[in-house]
């Protein structure tokens, strides 16, 4: 899958799996942090995202350190999936 398409797919997956009812895909800036100051996601959201991403893309996010790298932004997440997809 090309990267731009993956980024749009990830925005939709984040909104759906975390039930962000007031957020539209266009509201998510691909370079913004997902946690803290960006979308304001928390550690429980991280767990739910890990479950959703592993189911959909077959990737593995083994621990918090890898999670910090993968969840830095939607761009970082797309790069992580492209690099690690089986």
């Amino acid at each position: 899958m090309e990267r731009e398409g993956l980024i749009e797919e990830l925005k939709a997956l984040i909104i759906k799996s975390l039930k962000l009812e007031d957020v539209l895909p266009a509201d998510i800036e691909p370079a913004d942090p997902l946690f803290g100051s960006g979308l304001g996601l928390d550690s429980i959201d991280a767990l739910e995202l890990v479950v959703a991403l592993e189911k959909k893309y077959g990737i593995r996010i083994p621990d918090e350190d890898v999670g910090k790298e993968a969840f830095a932004s939607v761009n970082a997440l797309a790069d992580y999936i492209i690099k690690n997809k089986p």
């Binding site: 429980i44 767990l47 890990v50 479950v51 999670g67």
Partner: protein, 130 residues
């Protein structure tokens, strides 16, 4: 096993009469007989849903096979489809799906008279530094 061997909960807040770890660190099953003198029933004719969720959290704690306490951090996509009445035996099953950063995500099911009455995701937090 006696639930309190794996849980910090004590009477009257133990929502399981007995439990078994069916796969170490992964799955557990337990039962609770619904009786009229149970504190949770409180003079009614059935187990309130809040206590049903607590029972699902407790069986999930046992499924983790970790001794000691955890905190119920979240519930996801819980669906209620029935009621456990006085006289019924509630059966509970929980399977650990994923752990991440001290959080444990379980898929859990509660059955009464052989039918599923509640199911969904339970998230527990274990302090891994403790």
């Amino acid at each position: 096993m006696r639930p309190y061997e794996h849980l910090p909960h004590r009477h009257p807040f133990v929502m399981l009469d007995s439990a078994d770890i069916t796969e170490e660190g992964k799955t557990a099953r337990g039962i609770k007989r619904i009786t009229s003198n149970d504190m949770a029933v409180h003079g009614g004719d059935s187990l309130p849903q809040a206590y049903l969720l607590e029972a699902m959290a407790q069986i999930s704690g046992i499924a983790s096979s970790r001794k000691g306490g955890s905190m119920l951090a979240g519930l996801r996509d819980i669906r209620f489809s029935g009621t456990a009445y006085v006289g019924d035996t509630l059966e509970l099953e929980s399977t650990l799906e994923r752990t991440f950063s001290g959080l444990y995500f379980f898929q859990c099911k509660a059955l009464s008279a052989g039918s599923v009455i509640a199911e969904g995701g339970v998230i527990l937090y274990f302090d891994e530094t403790a």
